[in-house]
Symmetry: C2
Subunit: 409 residues, 2 copies
Amino acid sequence: MPVNYTPPTPEALLPVSGAELGTAPAGIKKWTRDDIVLVALADGACAAGVFTRNRFCAAPVVVCREHLARGGSVRALLINAGNANAGTGASGLADARSTCAAVAQVLGCRPDEVLPFSTGVIMEPLPVDKIVAALPRACATLSPHGWHAAVRGIMTTDTVPKAASRRIDIDGVSVTVTGMAKGAGMIAPNMATMLGFVVTDAPLAGPLLHELVAELADASFNRITIDGDTSTNDSFVLVATGKAPLPPIASTGDARYPAVRAALEAVAQELAQAIVRDGEGATKFIAITVAGGRTADECNLVARSIANSPLVKTAFFASDPNLGRIVCAIGNAAIADLDPALVSFWLDDTLVVADGGRAASYREEDGQRALAKAEIAVRVALGRGSATTTVWTCDLSHEYVSINADYRS
Amino acid sequence: MPVNYTPPTPEALLPVSGAELGTAPAGIKKWTRDDIVLVALADGACAAGVFTRNRFCAAPVVVCREHLARGGSVRALLINAGNANAGTGASGLADARSTCAAVAQVLGCRPDEVLPFSTGVIMEPLPVDKIVAALPRACATLSPHGWHAAVRGIMTTDTVPKAASRRIDIDGVSVTVTGMAKGAGMIAPNMATMLGFVVTDAPLAGPLLHELVAELADASFNRITIDGDTSTNDSFVLVATGKAPLPPIASTGDARYPAVRAALEAVAQELAQAIVRDGEGATKFIAITVAGGRTADECNLVARSIANSPLVKTAFFASDPNLGRIVCAIGNAAIADLDPALVSFWLDDTLVVADGGRAASYREEDGQRALAKAEIAVRVALGRGSATTTVWTCDLSHEYVSINADYRS
């Protein structure tokens, strides 16, 4: 059960002009559900992406980077669940290319206009034949209203589909943003999340899109961590079909840009937070804000040291204000000259640590009350500067161990 | 239940001339067991220590560093369980000094000849009065045969006491090494372990002892990780009472040095591995060897990325050869120019990955067989150089979550 997250109804997912989605059951694992998703894009669509920094990055990530580096048009995304096509060496790369060629044949475009994405078990050969055999069915179901089926098709250990839409008005023209994401474990994106896709019909120019995708990732998917394990397959792709009848938006100085960016960021953040709320075994949603750092990077080190500490996470799970574990995690962040005597932290509005020690005003009951809630804010002040950052995470429960002790079976 | 570890019998812990140990119940937590340990050292004993690199290091660590930096003699160690005296600010520091003064009064030495150590809950005030009140009883029980009681006195979530002895012959003189350690969670020593003490009567000179303590820590406690959380209190202290009737050993060139060093290293490694075998919730003992790195540091990064991955650890717990998670963990180590195509790894003697992909010879049954065992060897070859390192770790089980979800209660 996700923490305070209700998946959108089919009607809440707004179609985006220029994007159609189809799904089919390829039988990649022993299941009967749809497990491949085809996104067909109208001629003229632009795409930009950011990908995992894991050195063992998956074959589809390698192919996506190649196809995007070309700088040409993008006509389709092909996504499969159940198999990551990672740790598969040269044959995995050939497999990813084969699926692009098959999509190109079905849709009548070039293979390098197709971006492939995979999520699932690592180090298993991709069943290319099954995927190719299912493509006609995926093609037959293509529809602008296919978002709800698509977001279900990309799930693995996710317990709910995660998607979001926004519609804004630009000069009297309706502009739509719809996005979907998946991911529940092996989540500590280091560029982008497991799989995140945001599509808009806003006429954003290609170069601007490339700038924007990195900014959006930093404000959303790069701020979450579930278990500190950066996946081999993290991919976040932003698509602008340009089908809204508006003149192109080519620079950040364009008066229409802030509203479009805000809508995109809202969708990206909602998806990123939804991933944490549906984190494997999650029972709590925790926002960790670290302020008073010299740089945002050092704030991030502290926030992640807290967010990834198994001892902090199990204390949150137990609603046990064993808050010395947060002190320990702050001290473990790689800031060589951190002065503990300047550090304070709060749980919601309760001051827990002041001047590097337990605050005189702190009462265990207050800590207990804050930890009993499903949403918890941790605020740390480092007393070194004016930079700040926020990271979203969840707790570590028995359910996380159960899920990951028998994920493949 | 620890993994393949039987704690030593009282008789197996050899007394070391010049060191006496006493214990007492101070009632630091709601328990009736002995929870303070006093180690009294004969005049002329030398000590050297290495301590946590956590920036929120505990008050006793600060005091130990001060007292050792003085370079004078060390007459006593005072250890308490149940309270870490960390995250306690200026009052914690005053408390640690008070306990040293109390020991000095009881034993008739100077306060700066006493080294204090604490382990337990972080951010609770140290009950100095209770500790001081229990000192006469600890003093009355001082005995060279007190090791067995002492090692029980320093336990927290440890399920078994951890200690080891070696006796060697140097020029017809018997030289003894006995050590004890504790620790079961918050274990990823970054200088030394939670608490580790090794005492010998070998006449090692002070400067050599300082060199040796860091080397021994690197070969033992610095090679283990249970949950990746470096404690605020990690301390490893090496004491040479010098009471063996031999001329001083002052340099590494001394012909007698290699035998003494080997005995010390054997005890330190046995203690370090015992900590992992008794890791919180551990059901498997895993030795991860990374070879073919350019430097030992980069081998260490890869070994720790595997050892600290919750996904790898849960797969080990489940005996599930979901070995793609090891591939993912290797890729997450911070080696920017790692070439996955050169990477191989073995589980015991089974080649799993060759040339960056699944080995053609790999059969799931072989992986299953290796993982079903209680002791598992993972060997990774990076194909970049000739450096190598080994890290010891354990799995992540339901029991780890249970222990840490209600440790304080």
